[in-house]
Amino acid sequence: MNETTTPTAQSLIASSLSKGDGNIPGVNSGRAAQIVMEARDLSVYYGDFLAVRQATFSIARNEITAFIGPSGCGKSTILRSLNRMNDLIHSARVVGTVLYRGIDLYGPLADPGEVRRRIGMVFQKPNPFPKSIYDNVAFGPRVNEKFTKSELDGVVEDSLRKAALWDEVKDRLKASAFSLSGGQQQRLCIARALAVNPDVLLMDEPCSALDPIATGRIEDLMREIKSEYPIVIVTHNMQQAARVSDMTAFFSVESTGDTNRPTGMLVEYDRTVDMFSHPHDERTLSYVSGRMG
């Protein structure tokens, strides 16, 4: 069962960015030109189970997009299909289109490795390699490009500075990454993701294991880097979504008749201010107001 037709290389490049649904009601019309990624009717299956059905949204330059919604509604699933991390799960299957600068990420022109280099990811739990702080950050640049030692030093320092970790670790770059605190490890993982110079940054509940101070630092960091990297963040924290994001996508679950496992769906997608003050959908309103307390 294959719902996507394989398009030709020409049509892939030709799919214009402005054709998508960049013109969301109430969003300034200039946004269409800023769109970096677009998902169109994106559905993800695990085996026969339809985990999320037909999500359509876009990600623009200079914006932080928040994914919110109850547990199990498919936020991580959709996020992971934006940089082909789902390829690592054998049972996962993606239907629909993800366009990155007009190129179909699941088409013949896209190499999964290159996709992941350009669209970086930070995970819920900090997952540094059992290597030194320096080698953690240097891993990506080393495999992706040929750098001289001093160039690499520069990239490592730069990335650690962007992740607001440099001052804390500059004297012990050779120390094991495991010697850092949880919050520092998470910032190290952000530095590691930034070191390959991605175009987009995906973050799956990056602060859920952190205390409020560390969370605050990471939120500041996100605001600082969003002009360079559009960010998508999954969060269960409504205040966080309201604080940092420009756009919000609310996912929920609906029970389909035939299976008892509910399928996730994108309920509403709009500017964060509108989503939190006067959403169009009842379900968004009750979720947002319920969770905001």
Binding site: N83, M85, L88, H90, G113, E114, V115, R116, R117, R118, G120, M121, F123, K125, N127, P128, F129, P130, K131, F139, G140, R142, V143, N144, F178, C189, R192, A193, V196
Partner: protein, 318 residues
């Protein structure tokens, strides 16, 4: 003011005291615990019994043969007149066969482990893993005949580029010992790779490397201690292997590192002399124990190293 327990407390206490059935369960639990403890002690006792039975004949042996002769010479004719007891003849052969085996098993085992861990589809993995386990359980005598009847005449004697090859030779023995330990090496190395947290591997792939780069850059260093342990365990298996070497490398003890020659290792000497007709009260007979002690010490040291390494490995992720 005196304290007297309330009626409620007394009832509660009654309920907390063990009933008859509970008491029986407790006794049963004790019995099980004792039996389990005894069985685990048996292993330890057997180990000490083996070690202990080696010691007296070894001491006797060294009263007749000096350390200087044993460790200082390279000729080994313990069962001839006049005898020579230079352990280096057996040591060189042991080293030779072990090295050949390791050259086969380590790269082969690592490649197979990387394949199973990162490249193989679930389907392939499902078939390959049990196949490896069957191979690991194959009797070594089968491997021995494979070495003599196939590897030596069809491969080693045909392809050896440097002159004559003995029919019984160290190379055939080493190659087949390597094949014999390959499944174990693969399984152990793959287990080490499998114990790396999945999140870590995902984090690596998220940076855009190829599978090969993840294998060499993240999986190999993260599983390094486990991989070293699997090499050491394979090594001690190779050193102790008797049947294959006895069948394929013959029984001429000589100090050489030439893989084309027939040789005798520590283990294959024991196998060879052990089935011979030594008088139990002869120096020749006691030689077997001396060599056994030597082999025991070598494998013991190797196992201690591997335990140390594994322990260090555990510390990494906890």
């Amino acid at each position: 003011m005196s304290f007297s327990p309330s009626q409620e407390a007394i009832e509660l206490l009654d309920n907390l005291l063990p009933s008859g059935a509970q008491q029986r369960r407790r006794i049963y639990e004790r019995v099980v615990q004792t039996v389990l403890m005894c069985t685990s002690f048996i292993t330890v006792i057997v180990l000490f019994a083996v070690a202990g039975s080696l010691v007296p004949p070894t001491i006797d042996f060294f009263q007749e043969v000096s350390f200087g002769e044993f460790f200082g010479r390279t000729e080994w004719y313990p069962l001839f007149e006049p005898p020579a007891y230079g352990i280096w003849a057996l040591m060189s052969a042991t080293f030779l066969v072990m090295t050949i085996a390791i050259i086969v098993a380590v790269p082969g085992g690592l490649a197979a482990a990387f394949f199973l861990n990162q490249y193989a589809s679930d389907r392939v993995r499902r078939y390959l893993k049990p196949t490896l386990e069957i191979l690991a359980g194959m009797p070594t005598v089968v491997f021995g005949f494979f070495a003599v009847n196939f590897v030596s005449p069809n491969i080693v004697q045909k392809l050896w580029p440097f002159g004559e090859v003995d029919f019984y030779n160290a190379l055939s023995a080493g190659l087949v010992v390597g094949i014999m330990i390959l499944p174990m090496m693969t399984t152990l190395a793959e287990d080490a790779m499998n114990s790396i947290p999945k999140a870590l591997i995902e984090g690596a792939y998220a940076l855009g490397p190829t599978k090969r780069e993840v294998c060499t850059g993240v999986i190999f260093p993260s599983a390094l201690s486990g991989i070293i342990a699997s090499i050491v365990i394979s090594l001690s298996r190779a050193i102790g292997e008797t049947t294959i070497v006895l069948l394929a490398a013959g029984a001429s003890a000589k100090f050489t590192l030439n893989p084309a020659e027939s040789v005798q290792t520590l283990a294959s000497f024991i196998g060879f002399a052990g089935i011979g007709d030594q008088e139990t009260d002869s120096t020749g007979y006691r030689t077997i124990f001396a060599v056994g002690t030597f082999l025991f010490i070598i494998t013991f040291i190797l196992n201690i190293i591997s335990i140390r390494v594994v322990r260090r490995f555990r510390e990494v992720y906890e």
